[in-house]
């Protein structure tokens, strides 16, 4: 447990060194909520309170992109030959992967904490139970996303493949989910695809925790089940693939 704690601490410190990236992601979330969200909610005519719906989606979306950053770091470490150093540390592979996934989740949460707190204050959510549920939903999701990004970073050895998959993931996962718009208004093919997307359930569970109109949200029980499956699957895959790819220097 102490070793996992050390991995988490190291990853948190490394996040703090990337100040400009962090500030830019904040600025991006603020511009999305403060300009795009406000503007688009003026032209949306089919639902009330779309602005709040959208802002909640942007929060989850930004946390997703911070969590996926773990994969880029691991990829860069492989590229820079830093993996040899990590292998020399008295840690099991399992501790390393779990520690890094947990750190990915924690840093996403810490990173967005001021925006989440400000948003909850603005919409008047003060019930500790609801706040707690919302944070647990977000942490569970980002923990799973970190596992996914680690799985991809160690599973795809070609830089080109990694770039393409990450680019496509960024572009399609967000748009094929209910992060930006409810499933009710999606054309059938898009709605079907969004049902297989964990971002849909994370966004809707977050909204449900904050008391948003349930008419536009996925069933919360289904959302919890999907998120638990998601984070378990990708962390187990991450551990297995990481262990296999590290042996004998095959990550090179």
């Amino acid at each position: 447990m102490k070793k996992i704690h050390l991995v988490i601490e190291r990853d948190l410190r490394s996040m703090m060194q990337q100040k400009s990236i962090l500030v830019m992601r904040w600025f991006f979330a603020i511009v999305q909520i403060g300009i795009f969200g406000l503007a688009i909610s003026r032209i949306v005519t089919v639902m009330q309170n779309y602005y709040t719906y959208y802002a909640m989606g942007v929060i989850v979306m930004t946390m997703y992109s911070v969590a996926i950053f773990t994969g880029y770091e691991i990829y860069d470490e492989n590229d820079d030959g830093y993996t040899e150093y990590l292998l020399s540390i008295p840690l099991t592979r399992k501790e390393l992967v779990i520690g890094r996934s947990l750190a990915g989740g924690i840093r996403s949460l810490l990173f967005m904490a001021p925006i989440i707190a400000g948003f909850m204050y603005l919409i008047g959510i003060a019930d500790p139970l609801r706040v707690g549920m919302a944070l647990v939903a977000l942490f569970g999701f980002t923990f799973g996303v970190s596992g996914l990004s680690i799985t991809l970073a160690v599973g795809l050895r070609s830089g080109d493949k990694f770039d393409i998959i990450m680019g496509a993931l960024d572009a399609f996962i967000v748009r094929l989910s209910s992060a930006l718009y409810p499933q009710t208004f999606m054309p059938k093919p898009i709605a079907i695809l969004s049902q297989f997307n964990p971002l849909t359930y994370a966004s809707d569970l977050f909204r449900w925790s904050l008391n948003f109109n349930t008419q536009y949200l996925a069933n919360p029980t289904t959302a919890v089940i999907v998120l638990v499956l998601f984070l378990t699957t990708f962390n187990v895959c991450g551990v297995l693939i990481y262990e296999r790819s590290l042996e004998g220097g095959t990550w090179r």
Partner: protein, 250 residues
């Protein structure tokens, strides 16, 4: 002239090395148009899909034309400028070649998006098509100039990428790419409205809309704004690059 062509050829070859970055960018643009715009069309009171198609062309052009800034910044940091200065080229040929190549790279990326917009909206006359290409090339050259100016002014890669992202957010979101100006007037303060009106991305997106759907109408003002922006940044970028490339090896 031969030297300028050689520089352009070199930069176009390098551009295709970024094909994987470009694939990510294309995914983003297509996802915006074919998924996000399709859903929003069912949620707003007008055809958002048709509205966004020209906007996506303008954002794609902007992103692709900006890539040259990343290269120039890297060259400045890594001392590659010494090699460039040792080539049997006049300074103005090098600068002209790079700016022209930057503009062409934006066009190579954005023309398929324009064709897609034409399929979605309508096919213009030949003169309208020519006018759209000219407007896009002006924007592309202006953006390349802006990117080169930033790349040489901010030598640190971190500062450059931060400035690039800030500019990207301001230029894309404070423009008429995603929403009409009337909507922005309801939410932004006066200074940002003025910025959105003068924003060259707004000018190009609205010019393409004007030629393909007739609204907003194409005005002399849009062309004047676009020409002014392009002239300032093409000349500014060229001047700064010329000074910086010499200073960088001293």
């Amino acid at each position: 002239m031969h030297a300028v062509v050689a520089v352009i050829e070199h930069d176009l070859r390098v551009f295709f090395k970024y094909r994987f970055t470009m694939a990510g960018l294309i995914s983003m643009n297509l996802a915006d148009l074919l998924i996000m715009a399709v859903v929003y069309t069912r949620m707003v009171s007008f055809n958002y899909f048709q509205f966004l198609a020209p906007g996506v062309t303008a954002t794609g052009l902007f992103a692709a034309a900006f890539v040259i800034g990343r290269e120039v910044n890297m060259e400045t940091r890594r001392g590659y400028n010494q090699y460039l200065l040792s080539l049997p080229l006049r300074r103005y040929e090098l600068v002209l070649g790079r700016m022209t190549a930057g503009g062409l790279r934006g066009m190579i990326y954005a023309i398929p998006l324009l064709v897609l917009a034409m399929f979605i909206l309508k096919f213009p006359t030949l003169s309208q098509f020519g006018a759209m290409l000219f407007a896009m090339y002006l924007l592309s050259m202006g953006i390349s100039g802006l990117a080169i100016s930033l790349a040489v002014a901010l030598r640190s890669f971190e500062k450059f990428t931060t400035a690039r992202s800030l500019l990207y957010l301001l230029l894309i979101f404070c423009s008429t790419v995603f929403y009409p100006l009337a909507v922005l007037r309801q939410i932004l303060p006066g200074s940002l409205i003025l910025f959105a009106q003068l924003n060259p991305l707004s000018a190009v997106a609205d010019l393409i809309r004007g030629y393909l759907i007739g609204a907003p109408p194409v005005t002399t003002q849009s062309w004047t704004e676009l020409l002014s922006f392009s002239c300032v940044f093409i000349l500014g970028g060229a001047g700064l690059y010329r000074i910086a490339i010499e200073r960088s090896v001293k």
